[in-house]
Amino acid sequence: MATTLTINGNRHQVDLPDDVPLLWVLRDELGLTGTKYGCGVAACGACTVHINGQAVRSCQVALSDVTGEVTTIEGIGTPDAMAAIQTAWNDHQVAQCGYCQSGQIMQAAALLAEIPAPSDDEIDEAMQGNLCRCGTYPRIRAAIHSAASLMKEA
């Protein structure tokens, strides 16, 4: 059955079973590979995207349950036109292997949209679902604080 999705402002038609998770629609059907597969059970956060501005684990959202506009890391900014949060990540040289960072950035962006200047405790609360095996957490924390400042100035 054909489903219409709005992703990063663009409309896409896909013809797939209803229960295919959004993650795999993005990656395998639409070629939006910035969103990553890490665990498939909402335990690592690598697949985090926004639906109507809310951070969700795209591995747990069935195609038929996608009811709003989807934003992925590709919709946040590009290497030539980074969003403030990506600039902060770049300034702090956060990424090591980098595989989890799309999800980290999407989770942090949703946090900053809700709480413009989060405390360390609020960062802990919001970010603990996002795993990073390289251990970049201290720089992620610093980058979130920087992003808050950059976004306040903007």
């Binding site: 910035g34 690592c44 770049n90 292997c97 095996r133 251990g135």
Partner: protein, 746 residues
């Protein structure tokens, strides 16, 4: 020996070759040219380039896997430093597999020295022995060796290219080369006129490269400073391409299910149900499991779960207890190695107090964030492979064998690695993709493992046991006798790479124990190899990941038995033996304000391990909170000899420590009915944002030789935490993971 030197010298010659519209610089072999990976059809030009300059600009080759450690950036910086180009104005590529990209530093590790005590002669010998690497296709990223390997060769490649370009400019301008300077990819004439390298590239290809002298490090502008990573913009915008992001026209998506009784075959399978499921194209018999090819990965995973399979047994004891009993049995055999034997470690010295302890650590998974995967296209005559791997030549060779092709018929691309930690030095994921591609001729197929397959089909850090005896007298250690039993990682891994296992004493098995710089008069370390077929492999810091815990925890126990401050106790034994190591302990003492005293509800521990050429000391502070014990703070000091990029070193030290703490707190792979009992992150968790300590790092440069940075941060984390928990609770941590015996904040 003299012959080895001759080969070494001749191997390191740097030359140039013409390419379309430009020039390439690289190493070539004087006697036996390696097949040139990048320039086809130039019989004589046996050049293995590190620098390309054409009309499009400058391209540098960093033939090491970028798995997060920053190697692509720092390797390129070595070249760029001498070439006088800016890192943000050049392209950096991994390049194809090639013998000339061998790792000269890794094989030097086989020498039977402790590392910290190496003489200049031995250091030279290690470099020369490293040349043997090319003979066994050792293009490997591992052993924290990349900078030690590339440090001289890459600067020479950059300097040679620069001077050749200057000669081309000198010829054009009719001036002496010495009157010219270079900056930002341009040659500058005395009158201020500038010529971009691209304009000189074709002429430079016709010039014999002059011999060069490397710049005085005092004049470095890139090395020794934090460089923005060349992969950062891609990694924060989702545009960096990992193996799993490979997308090709007409590509299909596959997954696999391999026998969870590791090493066992498949008795039979029934795919009737799976074949009827949506999107499924094919179910493939892999012998020890099946692969399902479908129109997307998720549909493939659903169908793979629906295949009914009868598995055969694993070749090892089916339960964890039986496996550890087998490891324990190794103590009854003769030791495989006695890599340290000083004085008499049998007899307790007169009047000394004896203590002994046994330790146990579990098997561990690598759990890279990017699950294992590879993409392959088989045309009947050739195989093209996209695989995030740490060993390109071994991968190419083994996949060629699996496909019945010549090695040259396999093209291998190495994209970014979503974590490696040693796992991606293995060949299995590339070989499985090859087998699937063979069954899908003409169709590119990506084979992605589910997280569960990845977790349950690793080459694990082996479980290990230790028995330590020691004696203290008058506040000092007077005897230490350590025995370590585990299956041999290097014997298994070398067999997979080379088809043969090195015999003799396995030095790497006791790394982190036999080579610690303590002046203890009666000191012995023996290694015992367990006969066990559980798949094991290189895991960040390899045997130092368990020996660091055993050895350093025991030193802490000795300090307590001697009634001494644990940090001062270590320092006193170390000062005369290795000043750089003592420097790291003094640094964390100062950084943490160590007094040896902690208030109620707070515990502090020190940990120290020398591994991969780098001594690392850590102090960890734990705090009892209502929800559990929090790892609140950490201080790290390392001595790397020469810090080529301090920001990257800081990141590796913190990351290495967190990797070690994650394992120490939560990491355990256990077995039941021959199968791994952990499936996914909920049962194999790691530290996260909220339970990671606030950490401070100091990078020292007093060591005589450059050390590694990717691994040495991991080993001391585990004893430092255990020792801190002892300080907090009075209970000694002799078994990992700690969450089993301590109420840690989850």
């Amino acid at each position: 020996m003299s012959r080895m030197r001759t080969i070494a010298r001749r191997t390191f010659l740097i030359g140039s070759a013409a390419i379309v519209g430009g020039v390439a610089f690289g190493t070539y072999q004087y006697r036996k040219p390696s097949p040139n990976p990048l320039i086809a059809g130039q019989g004589e030009a046996a050049l293995n380039p590190f620098v390309f300059i054409d009309q499009q600009g400058v391209t540098l080759i960093a033939p090491r896997a970028e798995m997060g450690q920053g190697v692509r950036t720092t390797w390129a910086a070595l070249i760029a430093e001498e070439l006088d180009v800016e890192l943000d104005a050049v392209t950096v590529l991994h390049g194809p597999p090639a013998k000339a990209y061998y790792n000269s530093a890794l094989l030097g590790e086989v020498l039977p020295n402790k590392g910290y005590d190496i003489s200049a002669f031995q250091h030279g010998l290690a470099e020369v022995i490293g040349v043997a690497g090319k003979f066994i296709d050792m293009q490997v990223t591992g052993g924290s060796s990349s900078m030690r390997d590339g440090f001289t060769r890459m600067r020479e490649a950059g300097a040679t290219a620069r001077e050749t370009l200057k000669q081309a400019a000198a010829d054009r301008l009719g001036v002496d080369r010495e009157t010219l300077s270079t900056k930002s990819g341009q040659v500058i004439a005395p009158d201020g006129q500038t010529i971009p390298y691209a304009d000189l590239a074709e002429a430079a290809a016709l010039i014999d490269p002059p011999t060069v002298t490397l710049r005085d490090p005092a004049k470095w502008r890139l090395l020794g400073r934090n460089q923005p990573r060349v992969d950062m913009a891609g990694k924060v915008t989702g545009t960096a391409q990992y193996g799993i992001d490979t997308r090709l026209d007409g590509m299909k998506f596959a997954t696999l299910r391999i026998n969870p009784k590791l090493g066992g075959d498949m008795a039979s399978f029934d795919a009737t149900q799976a074949e009827k499921m949506p999107g499924v194209e094919k179910v493939i018999d892999l012998g020890n499991g099946i692969a399902v090819v479908a129109s997307n990965t998720w549909l493939a995973i659903q169908a793979a779960e629906a295949v009914e399979i009868v598995w055969q047994k694993a070749p090892y004891p089916p339960e964890t207890d039986g496996i550890f009993a087998r490891i324990n049995d190794a103590f009854d055999d003769d030791p495989n190695s006695t890599m340290r034997e000083e004085g008499d470690a049998e007899t307790v010295p007169e009047g000394a107090t004896m203590l002994q302890a046994t330790y146990r650590v579990p098997f561990l998974a690598h759990a890279t964030m990017e699950p294992m995967n590879a993409t392959a296209l088989y045309t009947g005559e050739a195989l093209e492979l996209w695989s995030g791997n740490q060993a390109p030549i071994f991968t190419q060779k083994t996949c060629a064998e699996a496909a019945g092709l010549e090695q040259e018929a396999v093209t291998l691309h190495t994209p970014y690695l979503g974590g490696g930690y040693g796992r991606r030095g293995e060949l299995d994921f590339s070989v499985y993709a090859t087998k699937v591609a063979l069954a899908m001729q003409g169709v590119p197929v990506q084979v992605t493992w589910s997280r569960e397959e990845d977790m349950r089909h690793d080459f694990y850090r082996p479980g290990a046991l230790a028995r330590f005896r020691g004696a203290v007298k008058d506040g000092k250690a007077v005897m230490l006798d350590g025995q370590i039993a585990a299956p041999s990682t290097s014997q298994q891994a070398m067999f997979r790479w080379l088809g043969l296992s090195p015999g003799g004493p396995d030095k790497s098995h006791v790394d982190g124990a036999f080579n610690q710089p303590y002046a203890i008069p009666n000191y012995r370390i023996r290694g015992y190899l367990a006969d066990l077929d559980v798949p094991i492999g290189f895991w960040r810091s390899v045997a130092a990941s368990f020996n660091g815990f055993f050895h350093d925890t025991f030193l802490d126990e000795m300090a307590i038995a001697a009634g001494r401050d644990p940090l001062e106790f270590r320092l006193e034994l170390m000062r005369e033996e290795h000043a750089a190591s003592a420097g790291t302990l003094e640094a964390v003492r100062e950084m943490s304000g160590w007094t040896g005293q902690t208030p109620d509800g707070v515990g502090r521990g020190v940990g120290y391990t020398y591994s991969f050429g780098t001594p690392v000391a850590q102090v960890i502070e734990v705090v009892q909170e209502p929800d559990g014990i929090r790892i609140a703070k950490a201080w790290i000091a390392c001595d790397v000899g020469l810090a080529l990029d301090p920001g990257t070193i800081e990141a590796q030290m913190i990351g290495g420590m967190i990797y070690g703490l994650s394992a120490a707190c939560f990491g355990e792979i256990s077995f039941a009915d021959g199968e791994v009992e952990q499936f996914n992150f909920p049962d194999y968790d790691a530290l996260r944002m909220h339970n990671t300590p606030v950490t401070e790092v100091r990078v020292l440069e007093a060591s005589k030789y450059m050390g590694g940075v990717g691994e040495p941060g991991t080993p001391p984390a585990m004893p430092a935490l255990g020792n801190a928990l002892f300080d907090l609770t009075g209970k000694r941590a002799r078994e990992l993971p700690l969450s089993k015996s301590f109420d840690l904040l989850m």
